[in-house]
């Protein structure tokens, strides 16, 4: 009788494993995506403006728009994305193991990550720097006044390392209080446990807008202690997918340069006479999409789904949003910023 129970349990366990284990082909990501019918997009657990879900479960943000554009370009439908929220500890292993196809999680590109984690940084879609947020009533005006103080930081991020370098370089002996979870770090700062909070300046703005009881009671110091180029990351070993991700992002940036918007993309596809715009939207004779393994309308669909880079920025991080960040370094190259799309040709 007991052996029957054992075999039943073993059968149930085996059945469960087969339900949930899904073979995927790490080498041929695009094939796997087409077979699966959706892109597995690794996002954050909720950073306002980059990737956050509202209470009905709908995701939005700058990084989410990258995934939507990719889905529109490859699978013809911007909604065919599975969003996998990942903490900063799990993100790289999830990408390495194939659990997600792309990590669109405002991740900083660094040498160590590129070289030793088996990953490829694609395109920087947000130029950022690490900053500090302090309460207004502490009257701190610049970062050097934080000598010997406690700073809340999240574990597993470049913020921890940069904080240590900054502290050492300036002899500040800053005391980091390191939290495993993003939410715990926020709670500790807002309860007054530490004097300052440090992460990327865009993250600070988003946390202040969403989590502070009164955003006016907190100020983000103007010192940026590091360069943080943020962008999506893919696995090594699949150059085809790498190229697709890269050029979809460049495509949306070049669309802003040429004035192609979500509203006028259909009209411009048929009526534009500018060969550059024609190449972007697949209107002329050259099929850029075919070279990537996609069809002619790849970029037109992507722009129709999310708008160009500028529109995506304004919607998620700009003045129309609650985060309210200026374009700053993230403006087009011919307007004084660093966004320089490689030409689609």
């Amino acid at each position: 009788m007991k052996l029957n129970k054992l075999t039943t349990m073993a059968a149930v366990a085996a059945a469960l494993c087969t339900v949930f284990a899904a073979p995927s082909h790490a080498g041929k990501t695009l094939d796997a995506i087409k077979a699966r019918g959706q892109i597995a997009c690794g996002v954050s657990t909720g950073v306002n403006g980059f990737s956050a879900a509202d209470s009905t479960g709908k995701w939005s943000g700058l990084d989410v728009d990258v995934c939507k554009a990719l889905a529109a370009a490859t699978l013809k439908d911007a909604n065919k994305v599975k969003y996998v929220p990942l903490t900063s500890q799990q993100r790289f292993t999830a990408l390495q193991s194939g659990e997600v196809d792309i990590l669109a999680r405002n991740t900083t590109f660094t040498l160590t990550r590129d070289a030793s984690l088996g990953l490829h940084s694609t395109v920087t879609n947000y130029y950022d720097g690490q900053g500090f947020m302090v309460p207004v009533k502490s009257k701190i005006k610049n970062a050097k006044q934080l000598k010997g103080q406690t700073v809340c930081v999240q574990s597993g991020t470049t913020s921890e390392k940069n904080l240590a370098s900054f502290s050492k370089a300036n002899g500040l002996s800053l005391k980091p209080i390191v939290f495993e979870k993003f939410e715990a770090a926020n709670a500790a700062y807002f309860s007054g446990r530490c004097v300052a909070y440090t992460t990327d300046a865009s993250g600070l703005a988003s946390i202040r807008s969403k989590e502070a009881k009164d955003p006016k009671e907190h100020v983000i110091l103007s010192d940026l202690i590091s360069k943080e180029p943020l962008g999506p990351v893919v696995r090594r070993g699949d150059d085809e997918w790498f190229a697709i991700v890269k050029w979809v992002i460049y495509g949306t940036m070049e669309a802003e340069e040429y004035g192609v918007t979500q509203a006028n993309v259909d009209q411009l596809k048929t009526t534009s006479t500018d060969p550059a715009v024609q190449r972007l939207l697949g209107g002329g004779n050259e099929d850029m999409g075919k070279l990537l393994g996609l069809d002619k309308d790849w970029l037109a669909r992507a722009i129709k789904a999310t708008g160009n880079y500028g529109e995506s920025f304004e919607r998620n991080l700009g003045q129309k949003s609650s985060v309210n960040l200026p374009r700053g370094l993230n403006n087009q190259w011919n307007k004084g910023g660093l966004i320089y799309a490689y030409p689609i040709r």
């Binding site: 030793s116 088996g118 240590a164 007054g192």
Partner: protein, 336 residues
């Protein structure tokens, strides 16, 4: 005449010894195959993804600071020293926690036999409440208490030279006497944002210590209670016959005999406390799991870092078990 079956012709593969060896060979083969499969996959995956392996990263500079440590640690020092700091932080919690929880748990366990019904009731309620709520939840509640209920450092509560605030508990510590042999103290003073100088215990440390102490004390109380109950009733009656009052009989007769029964499960609880200190990673206390986590994220060496953590805990468990085993042997009743 009966025809006796010849014993020698029995085939050797039907003997128990052979079957035993066969099963062992099969089991070993299966285990070896599974281990080979896992290792092969791991190595292959690591090579494919360009993940490096090896313990050489331990001599690289850590690149991160640690919030609290017993000896000064700087981000330029190597990873193995960072792990050392984490280990010391874990041991700090473990040793202090074991001492405090034994004291509290014994009081509670003995309290269950008190003549005062109120004391009995309080001990019973304490044990039931603290045993049935998960330890992580208790740690989070203690941390919430410290960060929300305590005042900011600029308005700390003071009791003499001792300050209590969100920044922790600050108290004067003696300075090593320099030239003159007078004992000088380093007193904490209110700085601009925090209490400076003096010795301090951070709220993370206090939350982990108190949370683990109160949680484990409930289990220790149960262990002590069952130990005392296991002592023969006649011993208590004999003590009464000799004229000892209840407190004396508990202290001189029951507890020493109960020790023999108490020590093995008590060791278990000490080990549980040490292992539960790994939860400090959830509230920002830099114990060895938290440091390993940071190292794992910065270097990508998941296998090595987790192996180090497991090795640390295995060694601590082994050391504790050996120590208690030695104490057990000394405390064992010499029977005739």
């Amino acid at each position: 005449m009966a025809h006796r079956p010849s014993q020698n012709k029995r085939s050797f593969w039907r003997s128990q010894a052979f079957r035993g060896r066969l099963y062992q060979a099969l089991a070993l083969g299966l285990i070896a195959a599974v281990i080979w499969f896992l290792t092969h996959n791991t190595l292959q995956n690591m090579a494919l993804r360009g993940i490096r392996s090896g313990f050489d990263f331990l001599t690289d500079p850590a690149g991160f600071d640690i919030g609290e440590s017993l000896f000064p640690f700087d981000s330029g020092q190597p990873y193995w020293q960072a792990f050392g700091v984490g280990l010391l932080n874990t041991l700090r919690i473990a040793l202090l926690g074991i001492v405090l929880t034994t004291m509290l748990g014994t009081l509670l366990g003995v309290g269950r036999f008190s003549r005062n019904a109120l004391v009995r009731g309080v001990c019973y309620v304490y044990v039931e409440v603290f045993r049935n709520v998960p330890v992580l939840l208790q740690l989070l509640m203690w941390y919430l208490l410290f960060t929300e209920a305590l005042p900011a450092a600029t308005e700390a509560w003071t009791l003499g030279p001792v300050f209590l605030s969100k920044g922790g508990l600050s108290f004067p510590i003696p300075l090593w006497p320099a030239e003159d042999t007078t004992l000088a103290f380093d007193f904490p003073v209110k700085g601009e944002f925090a209490i400076e100088h003096g010795g301090s215990l951070t709220p993370e440390f206090l939350a982990v210590l108190l949370g683990l102490t109160f949680y484990t004390a409930a289990f220790v109380a149960e262990v002590v209670r069952s130990g005392i109950q296991s002592v023969d009733r006649g011993q208590r009656e004999a003590a009464v016959a000799l004229g000892l009052n209840p407190r004396q009989s508990m202290r001189l007769v029951m507890l020493p005999q109960a020790l023999r029964v108490i020590i093995p499960p008590l060791t278990n609880q000490f080990l549980n406390l040490t292992k539960n200190s790994s939860l400090a990673v959830a509230i920002g206390y830099p114990d060895v799991v938290s440091i390993a986590n940071t190292a794992l994220n910065q270097t990508g060496r998941a296998v090595e870092c987790i192996a180090i953590v497991m090795a640390v805990y295995l060694c601590t468990s082994l050391a504790t078990a050996l120590l208690m085993h030695g104490y057990n042997r000394r405390a064992a009743i010499q029977e005739r």
